[in-house]
Amino acid sequence: MDITFMFETMKTLLAALPMTLALFSLSVFFGGLLALVIVWMRVSGNTIARNFAKGYIFVFRGSPLLIQMFLIFYGLGQFGFIRYSFLWPALREPFVCAVLSLALCTAGYTAEIFRFGLRAIPAKEIEAARSVGMSGFLLTRRILAPIAFRHALPAYSTEVVMMVKSTALASLVTVWEVTGVAQRLISQTYRTMEVFLCAAAIYLILNFLILQAMALLEYKLTPHRRAAPLFPVPQR
């Protein structure tokens, strides 16, 4: 192997890492916010909201992300009301289209993950909260969301890792993130193996760090599931 070439390749690819990270963090952030809205609609008593959420989840989970991205990138401009709206300057940007489609897609998955988290909350703990006078937003903020989030965390970290990998698709709508830059390098050098190996290493390290962070978060949030280290065994 050509160490200098690998080194140069790494440098070039790492220069595109901020773009990958921007795609990832913006889409996870906005996708997460949207997921909260979708799951709220999904579990609400309102039939229209619930069915809208069901339809949303069906569409965005059921169709390929790449097609969603192409539809947004090539398709939106065909609608006059979008083309002539104030949003067009933004929606014309490949980066905005990529973030938009990544966020819309992850929102569908994340909404389902959060919903399973909600269903795992013990009814008795909700009842206890009601009996001290909690309801509505307070109940959600203090009891429902914290318990649901803890239950959802393992599945959610899988989704987050999927999102890191999904950012690679943005190269197909001309966003120069790590994979896109790798392909450009290959077309210039024809050294497929070395370049893609470097790219894969970057994704692996990135995902390793993210998984470690998620595992640490889960560890911090669930001391109640571990044996009590500081306390003597309860005398029974």
């Binding site: 206890a128 001290v132 006078g133 309801s135 669930t222 109640h224 599931r225 009590a228």
Partner: protein, 268 residues
Amino acid sequence: MTPTTLNQTGTTMAGTTRLSVRNIRKSFGTHEVLRGISLDARDGDVISLLGASGSGKSTFLRCINLLEIADHGEISVDGELIQMEQRGGKNVPANRRQVDRIRSELGMVFQSFNLWSHMTILENVIEGPVHVLKRPRAECIAEAEVLLEKVGIAEKRNAYPAHLSGGQQQRAAIARSLAMKPKVMLFDEPTSALDPELVGEVLRVMRSLAEEGMTMLVVTHEMSFARNVSNRVIFMKSGEIDSDGAPDQLFGSGGSPSFRQFIGNFGG
């Protein structure tokens, strides 16, 4: 705590009515579980609710703090009537805020403790005062520590519910209720889920609450508690009050034949 009038005999003594229930009815489908129950609890009353399984004791307690909504009847807590209205042919609370407030004034202790498993014992106890009553956190922590001391689990303040024995969890749940400074405490078989050797520690806490003048409504199968701690015993049968009176009177000779048969099963 509230000024206390210890009412040992169950006869009407001067004292504020803390809880008043008028003619509560409740059906699940076609099954009528409560068939018109009325009850007044005065300040410091300790009322034991006895009855066979399925007689509607839990449903009655849950109707009082609106975890179940009665189909019919009126409930007042400390003189405040809970507003109800008819909506879609059903009896529902008219004012959610009032429901939340009333619930915060009624302490509920469940058979299976129902502590929030992701919070430490101390966090469980201060949760209501800090977030429902919106009181200063430091003050709530100081009070919580006194309460935990009182129920005998001060050293468990930073432990999680899963790390406590059943008896300790139930005492923590009692402390959590007390932290809200309730006007009336409702207990639904607080010792039924406990191993026999852990029952005593919970009953001792309940007894000391009774002696301090807490108004308590206790569903229980502990005959010794009903006899020796409460000042009034109500025996429910098929959703109705069958016998109602001072423990001496009922356990003496005053109880109905059904009551006699019921306590006979406990070797009473």
